[in-house]
């Protein structure tokens, strides 16, 4: 945990000082720390571009990784992931609906919702698809893993089709906005977006420490967890609400960034074991570190242009995930 905190500080500094502008911001940063004046240009890059991007990266990385860990604990399945079980797709559909259909709302409503509309729609979309999937997979109080995964595929296809219809209806400027969702990027990070996403993500993350013991007990199964005095239904509701809030806000802020939610908890279980009391806080740290690292790669690899971060996480995360699967086939026990 200490190691990860240190790593997060290091990547944060590195993230602040790398970028397309090529400016020697390391110098600016040291000047700033020493209390010296820095130029306006450096100040703008640091505080209005890099810093919001850094904070958004930390928030989104932590949100995705912790949500993944919670989903896996809740479904008792190491393959559950906000992306794989359709939460991300639902949130994406919500966001796309808001972008494309938002202009059909009465102007007064548009004005009052303003910036809130897209994240709120993403939040609702993620929440609804989570609840629907959970209902489908739960029969007589027992959640079937196979039904959950297959249902997630079906639900993903359905939301994909609905998103497709909306994309078909979209005009050019909306299409540009939509592309952003599909690939995911931290490039659009602004202070406004942080003020919207941060409270939701922080609230969801703050709830998770209370879930740790329950998630550990739930690994035994729902009935044994109940016999250990765990209020199973209540903790399920809190988990689902937290995941939907965190993922909804993360997707609203940065689009669909895959594999953080599945790779981070896996990696940590290999390193420190499956105890959720340690898994959840470490997942927040490692998720933030990995997303910042991926963001730096996406910013520098084809500089001055940017590769969408979703491409980076999928390119690195996909093979890594396969490697974990092949190595631990015996321990997965599906």
């Amino acid at each position: 945990m200490l190691v990860l905190s240190g790593l997060l500080v290091l990547t944060s500094v590195a993230s602040l000082t790398t970028g397309a502008s090529g400016a020697s911001l390391w110098k600016a940063l040291t000047q700033l720390v020493q209390g010296e004046e820095i130029s306006l240009r450096e100040r703008v890059i640091l505080f209005d571009i890099r810093l919001p991007r850094l904070i958004m990266g930390i928030l989104v990385g932590a949100a995705l990784a912790v949500s993944g860990a919670v989903m896996q604990g809740l479904f008792r399945n190491p393959l559950a992931d906000p992306g794989l079980v359709g939460v991300g797709a639902g949130a994406g559909l919500g966001a796309i609906s808001a972008i494309v259909l938002g202009s059909f709302l009465p102007l007064g409503m548009q004005a009052s919702l303003g910036y809130f509309m897209v994240p709120a729609a993403a939040f609702v979309g993620g929440w609804v698809s989570t609840i629907v999937l959970y209902r489908i997979a739960t029969h007589r109080g027992r959640t079937s893993v196979a039904v959950m995964l297959l249902g997630g595929i079906a639900l993903g296809a359905l939301t994909g089709a609905l998103s497709g219809i909306l994309i078909y209806m979209a005009d050019d400027s909306q299409l540009r906005d939509l592309t952003f969702w599909g690939l995911g990027s931290l490039a659009g990070a602004t202070w406004d977006k942080i003020w919207l996403a941060a409270p939701l993500i922080m609230l969801a993350l703050a709830a998770t420490p209370f879930l740790a013991r329950s998630l550990n007990a739930l690994a035994l199964g729902e009935a044994p967890a109940a016999h250990l005095g765990i209020p199973v239904q209540r903790m399920k509701n809190i988990s689902i609400l937290s995941v939907a809030a965190a993922v909804g806000a993360a997707v609203a802020a940065s689009g669909g960034i895959g594999f953080i939610g599945i790779v981070v908890p896996h990696l940590l279980r290999l390193l420190i074991g499956p105890d959720h009391r340690f898994l959840l806080p470490n997942a927040a740290l490692l998720g933030a570190v990995l997303l910042l690292a991926a963001d730096m790669i996406s910013r520098t690899i084809i500089a001055p242009a940017e590769l969408p971060i979703g491409i980076v996480t999928a390119t690195l995360g996909g093979p890594f995930f396969l490697w974990i699967l092949l190595r631990n086939r015996s321990l997965l026990d599906l």
């Binding site: 896996q72 604990g73 008792r76 399945n77 190491p78 013991r213 550990n216 007990a217 739930l218 690994a219 035994l220 199964g221 009935a223 044994p224 109940a226 016999h227 250990l228 005095g229 765990i230 209020p231 279980r269 074991g273 499956p274 105890d275 015996s330 321990l331 026990d333």
Partner: protein
Amino acid sequence: MLDARDIRVSLAGTPVLQGVHFRARPGQVTTIVGPNGSGKTTLLRAMTQEASYSGEVTLDGEDISRLPGWQLAARRAVLPQASRIAFPFTVFEIVRLGLTASAEAAQETRVSEALDRVGLAGFEGRFYQELSGGEQQRVQLARVLTQVWEPIGAEGARWLFLDEPVSSLDIGHQLEVMSLLAAYAQAGGGVIAVMHDLNLTAMYADDIAILADGRVLRQGPPSAVLTDSLLSEAYGCAVRVNAAPEGDVPFILPHMASIS
């Protein structure tokens, strides 16, 4: 005292329990026996609220459906028949879960103590998933024991509910576990176990309920329940109760030639 009155359970429209009366006293090992499909496990599941039932189950006079989960967890631990674990937890971490639900403020050394009692000393660091079925069953028993370690707590007798606790154990460990349960009852705790093995039941039970077709045929001491006619009626085959050469513990042998 655990008292279950007029318990009815239907699964998918089929009545499985049809008005079962069952009671168990602390200080005794009470077993539930009967043929496959007679409703043994369903009765245990109803009494532990895993199956929805009509009727009433009281623990020391209190309706269990009105007690909050954490209070029940302090007084009663439940051993499932077989358990698969979702993640690669170690034996220590599994047993420790019982400790977190316990009403007692115990040290983590209790985990090793419990493992020692079930004959798994030194297994703390092993992965649960890599153990044999019998070892997994004993790890679960250790977990359940740590949850209600002292047979009598401030709130009264503590209870162990066990669904076939020795089903995947060899004969040595069967005797070890049954003796452990008998000692728990001797010290004032309540033990309710669904059993398949009639001979182990004969050796260790103080009170036996025999089920057939969703009804209790009879509940009483072994001498009243383990009779040729009752067992033959319940299991639908001819069995004969014999007496061991030493002591008066009965044993049951099936008589192949006379299966009707």
